[in-house]
Assembly symmetry: none
Homo-oligomer: 529 residues x 2
């Protein structure tokens, strides 16, 4: 059977950067573009050259890189009213970007033409047609029909006219945009079919551009493909304005692995997707979304004893796909709901199957720690170190002699704001004693700073790691501040993120344990390379 | 037109608690159940009484609360093989939970019956039928057909037989579960239609239970409803194992506001959804998902100059629904204003409606504090004190001159375990200065002890109060230990429990603020008596 190729259009660098809290440097944009090209994304939208200098620089620099078969696109709006296309600054900026492909956006909705642009309906058609004609002279042209589905609902004839204006003037692609993200899948499918039928006399292909405001962006994109669209626009991890664009990772996985009859990325492997997802989160300085379909850290994580027991017996019937197909992996969570089989599966990863005695020791230790309030499900790195300790392969890179934090506020006495935090630590690294102190925004930050200071000479690779999250929970909340406190720390370097845990009645002690594990995990990892 | 009612079944407390990092205390579960009942959720699954003591206690306690028309469900599996239903410990636990409704889960997939349960196909049918018959004697029975869609693909005749076994034995509802989350919407729709047709001779209604592994759980649930299902199972915010269950917030919003012909929650308003979503995140100590459809902080946030300008011109054409319908609000990211409706609602409680000027002052202060990371949803007592401060009725019962904590470990140096925490405080109570010190299990406990010591003579009623919970959250977690830290403290006396909040880069300072508010709230309360 010949699978129908669906082309993938990435707008992480333009529409994605509209997401709250997202902002890419020039270098970030270049790095992401290269990664997208590496995995075989068909179109890479780089930015809006009229809007800022960074995007202009991006198009200048990206020309020097080899992006294989991926086409870089510059994005811009139709010409201004009452102006020739060749005189319009936006048009000029697009041409000067010298990209193989240009994406032009125009108004579909009659109301937006007359009330937002303040032009007649005919002038809007002329703006689309003349802009398209001008730009199509030197580049492959994609026309993005903004608010297509809402515009079609309001005035279907006019909406189709805007598409015809672009296609007749030379656009190769017409991308139907659900700009507000409010359309339901059945309507996306129906209107896409109607549009394709209405344009059947023209030589043009259809794309789809969805937003996730009803949590239906993936279903909508797939519905459009079923209706005949052959290009899907979206962003990596679904970053974007409001609820985001459609997540291309999920779209590609569904098209290639779940639906029948389609192919993406020229049928290449999807195994780089998990790494790509994390790379984009890191670059955008965003938290990973652990429950992200296909590539999230929890996407193939299993909790609950009986269930886990069954998984080991018949993995295929408990997972909708093999996680390796998208570069992800199965994780067995150790938790209060889990039994012996969870731990066995985890220990499996460490090749401990054959050693019954060792397995029993680990199990005993986990049970003992769980009774104290430990939970290893978010602390895989601490579990790793625990296995190493019990099996005798753990080598501490430093020993704590003592540490102390002092924190408080003497504002009123000193008559100026003076919340403060200081840490003092004494460590033994090899035969050397280090005694260091540091200030911080709070006691944990001060401890982290003092620890890095003391270890910097011996272990320079610690500069690569940073703490990304810090969570605290009271384990038995019935006795208030006297209860045990569980601290989870999440750390990362450019390759992975790892969780560690500490439990104590004393929050400072719990934090210190989690911090030491985080650093030891990094050091053990570096050693194995 | 008569809208068709779709009943909503919430399993946040059972399936939701399978989510990575989710763990509810008994009090958390009771609080969530009450909130679900308040907004009119039809079925509230409370837990699995066989699995743990906490769930047994939940069913004992929840009976004492008034949940209106909401029905509490206990969850359990079919009886064990070769055992009478009435002798099975799981069956007994379900009956002893004394809930108006019981949810029974059983195997649909022939492979799972023979290979996981290790029973014949006939014995599996007997297990379903006899368990259902036994349980349906005393409660409304919902049968959850585990792996229904995968089971149907493997052996459709047998899958239907399992449904018939449950329905013939008295189940009122058959819930079709896409347990692995791997089924696509078109198949969900087709198989749901086929199942309904195959059972048309029986008096039974159909439910749908979806997981989000392909990011299609919402589309799948809606497809099943279109095929004839009249109950949707899911969780608040979609928390749950792997990629989560379907998010009921999105399902309800889509059914009531987007699709035609359906109603949910007896056509009540959906305005409490935004607050409910945040309450569940806070209770589970999870980060809010800012881009969550309908109720996320970014769901109606607009960025980018021209777009924002257009929005002010024609809001309706840039938003797929009015955000107020789900209790959310538009945010223009330049100003970062948030939470206005929540604040208005809170201030309402204090009867401040008439005083516009005071309202505006409070609003301004809350916005300022929210930008620093405060959230008053779980800190009603702190909000109370804030209102008192702004309206001039706040009288501090003591003033802090300074405080300091010292905490650490000198175990190795001293050669005996010596994790320690000490606090020193200096307060002014009336005209008297108090300088006191106390030790504690941790720095917060030490501060609490020192504070009580200093205030004991003047305010003996403090002996009546105690701290019951302590939660910590990083507010902007992108920069690790340098981020702001939000501390929530829950306190109680014999009459009520109250929440307070503190935010600072320094966890000790944040804790101190929350502690001071907790004590001041108690003292103000005692004064008013």
């Amino acid at each position: 059977m010949n699978a129908k190729p669906i082309l993938i259009y990435d707008t992480t660098l333009r529409d994605g950067s509209q997401g709250e809290g997202v902002s890419f440097s020039l270098q970030d944009k270049l790095n992401i573009a290269e990664r997208l090209a590496e995995i075989g994304i068909d179109f890479i939208e780089g930015g809006y050259p009229l809007s800022n200098e960074k995007d202009v620089a991006f198009f200048r620099e990206i020309k020097k890189r080899n992006l294989g078969n991926s086409k870089v696109c510059a994005f811009g709006m139709t010409r201004r009213k009452s102006m020739k296309a060749e005189d319009d600054p936006g048009m000029k900026a697009l041409v000067q970007a010298e990209t193989p492909c240009i994406t032009l956006v125009g108004k579909t909705w009659d109301y937006h033409a007359t009330e937002v642009l303040r032009v007649t309906l005919d002038e809007n058609l002329a703006m689309i047609g003349e802009s398209a004609e001008f730009l199509a002279r030197g580049a492959e042209l994609i026309y993005d029909a903004e608010h297509f589905f809402d515009g079609y609902n309001a005035n279907p004839e006019y909406a189709i006219k805007t598409l015809r204006a672009a296609a007749s003037a030379g656009a190769t692609w017409l991308s139907l945009c659900d700009t507000n993200g409010g359309t339901l899948p059945e309507r996306i499918r129906e209107v896409t079919e109607l549009a394709i039928e209405a344009l059947s006399d023209l030589d043009v292909q259809i794309g789809i551009h969805c937003h996730n405001d009803c949590e239906l962006a993936v279903a909508n994109s797939l519905a459009a493909v079923d209706a005949g669209a052959t290009q899907v626009q979206g962003t990596i991890n679904g970053i974007g304005e409001r609820c985001g664009n459609v997540d291309l990772i999920t779209v590609m996985s569904n098209l290639a692995l779940k639906k029948k009859g389609y192919s993406v990325l020229g049928s290449r492997s999807l195994t780089p997707l998990t790494e790509l997802s994390r790379f984009v989160y890191e670059t955008a300085n965003l938290q990973w979304r652990n429950n992200q379909p296909f590539v999230g850290q929890s996407a193939f994580a299993h909790k609950g004893g009986m269930h886990v027991h069954a998984i080991n017996k018949a993995a295929k019937t408990y997972e909708h796909i093999d996680p390796a197909l998208v570069g992800n992996e199965r994780r067995i969570l150790v938790s209060e709901l889990s039994g012996r089989s969870n731990i066995a599966a985890l220990a499996n990863k460490h090749n401990l199957d054959d050693d019954r005695e060792l397995m029993d020791k680990i199990l005993g230790e986990v049970v003992r720690l769980e009774n104290q309030g430990y939970q290893f499900e978010n602390a895989g790195a601490s579990f790793d170190l625990l296995v190493k300790r019990i099996s005798g392969t753990y080598k501490p890179h430093f020993n704590t002699i003592k540490y102390r934090v002092v924190a408080g506020d003497r504002s009123i006495e000193s008559e100026q704001p003076s919340v403060f935090a200081e840490a003092i630590i004494k460590l033994k690294v090899g035969e050397t004693l280090w005694f260091d102190a540091a200030e911080g925004h709070g006691p944990i930050n001060a401890l982290d700073a003092a620890l890095r200071k003391a270890l910097a000479d011996e272990y320079p690779m610690l500069a690569e790691m940073r703490l990304t999250d810090y969570k605290v929970r009271v384990v038995e909340s019935s006795s208030g501040t006297e209860a045990s406190i569980r601290v989870n720390i999440e750390s990362c370097d450019e390759h992975e993120s790892w969780g560690t845990i500490g439990v104590s009645e004393n929050i400072i002690e719990a934090s210190w344990s989690a911090l030491v594990d985080a650093v030891e995990y990094k050091l053990h990892k570096s050693e194995n390379k």
